[in-house]
């Protein structure tokens, strides 16, 4: 089993899952967030091809544009 953390909440995956699939499973639209994977921002074009590894730490957040 693959254990990952999404915004500090532990979650288990039964099979290798892409970043894109993990986000969609959270009911989050792909075009509404950015992903930090283990302290590195991952451009959207790579979300399909990166598979989550055991103990990966994901942070999802949306754009803040105010000022």
């Amino acid at each position: 089993m693959i254990l990952i953390h999404i915004n500090n909440v532990a979650q288990s995956l039964t099979e290798p899952t892409s970043l894109a699939a993990v986000i969609l499973a959270q009911d989050i639209a792909l075009d509404s967030v950015a992903i930090v994977l283990n302290a590195e921002l991952i451009p959207r074009n790579r979300w399909q091809s990166i598979l989550c590894q055991h103990e990966d730490k994901l942070e999802l957040f949306s754009a803040v544009a105010g000022g």
Binding site: R44, A65, G66, G67
Partner: protein, 283 residues
């Protein structure tokens, strides 16, 4: 200051006058600044886009710290709902253009600073002045202090095309974001569009979500701190030796007061920085 009138002057050959030495003594005392650093700030030109909560404070910090030249851009007028956090403005300024009011105020706060104000929305032509300075070997920087996603995309694109370093801060409700990118010294960190492509769905803004003044102040202070250190770290020809503050994306949670940092990575397929489409007359 003498050095400002001589574009090709090498700052190291000049010295601060006694008056400025006193004025900036707490900065000059830092080994990271020193006299050479203070002269470097005097030789620098920073463009601040958006003179709202973030921009009005960044403008004060940079002007008062001795940055030689500022360009201030904002089409908005001062409104009563701005006053709890935009402390440069007062009731008497309501209805007046923010960039113009800021320019007038800063004349008294920072007499050494040369200020140009544009009372229009941002367009890339407003960067021509700073690009001229860049060609003369001065340190230049753009600060994104605006309040909407579309303008942030336009500023990012313009900075990529013009090869100008960008320090961007934002805040809404209790969430702040901050990053610094430079296409010349650190192209591998990409740009804003690599993180949030232009078609990204965005819902947050101060006008719809609200914000506490000090949260804005924290973000503007951090943005100014990054800006000053980038200016101090650049050599006079702006070759921009790789600076440790470049290529990071910081998030601030104003409820828990916690900061999170992530490394930026360039999207090779980015529409903005992935395929270089520099406009010849801008470079």
């Amino acid at each position: 200051m003498q050095v400002m009138n001589k574009p090709d002057a090498i700052t190291e050959c000049n010295t601060l006058n006694d008056k400025d030495f006193m004025r900036y003594s707490r900065q000059v005392l830092l080994p990271e600044v020193g006299e050479a650093g203070q002269l470097r700030l005097a030789d620098a030109h920073v463009v601040i886009i958006g003179i709202g909560g973030l921009g009005q404070l960044a403008a004060q910090y940079l002007a008062c710290a001795g940055v030689g030249e500022l360009t201030l851009i904002d089409m908005d007028k001062v409104e009563v709902s701005n006053l709890p956090r935009q402390l440069l403005f007062s009731d008497a300024d309501i209805g007046l253009n923010k960039a113009l009011v800021a320019k007038e105020r800063l004349k008294f706060l920072a007499p050494n600073c040369t200020i140009t104000a544009y009372e229009t929305s941002f367009n890339i032509k407003q960067l021509y002045g700073v690009l001229q300075k860049k060609r003369q070997g001065k340190c230049t920087l753009v600060l994104d202090c605006t309040d909407n996603f579309e303008t942030r995309q336009l500023i990012n694109r313009s900075c990529v095309e013009a090869y100008l370093p960008l320090v961007s801060a934002s805040i809404a409700a209790f969430s702040g974001q901050l990053f610094a990118v430079d296409q010349i010294s650190f192209p591998s960190s990409g740009c804003y569009h690599c993180i949030f492509p232009a078609h990204t769905r965005v819902s947050h803004s101060c006008s719809t979500q609200g914000v506490l003044g000090p949260s804005v102040g924290v973000m503007a202070s951090m943005q100014s701190l990054v800006a000053m250190q980038l200016l101090l770290g650049m050599d006079s020809r702006c070759d921009g030796a790789l600076h440790p503050l470049l290529g990071h994306f910081w998030r601030f949670d104003a409820k828990s007061l916690s900061w999170t940092s992530a490394k930026l990575t360039r999207d090779p397929y980015c529409d903005v920085c992935g395929v270089r489409k520099a406009i010849p007359y801008l470079t």
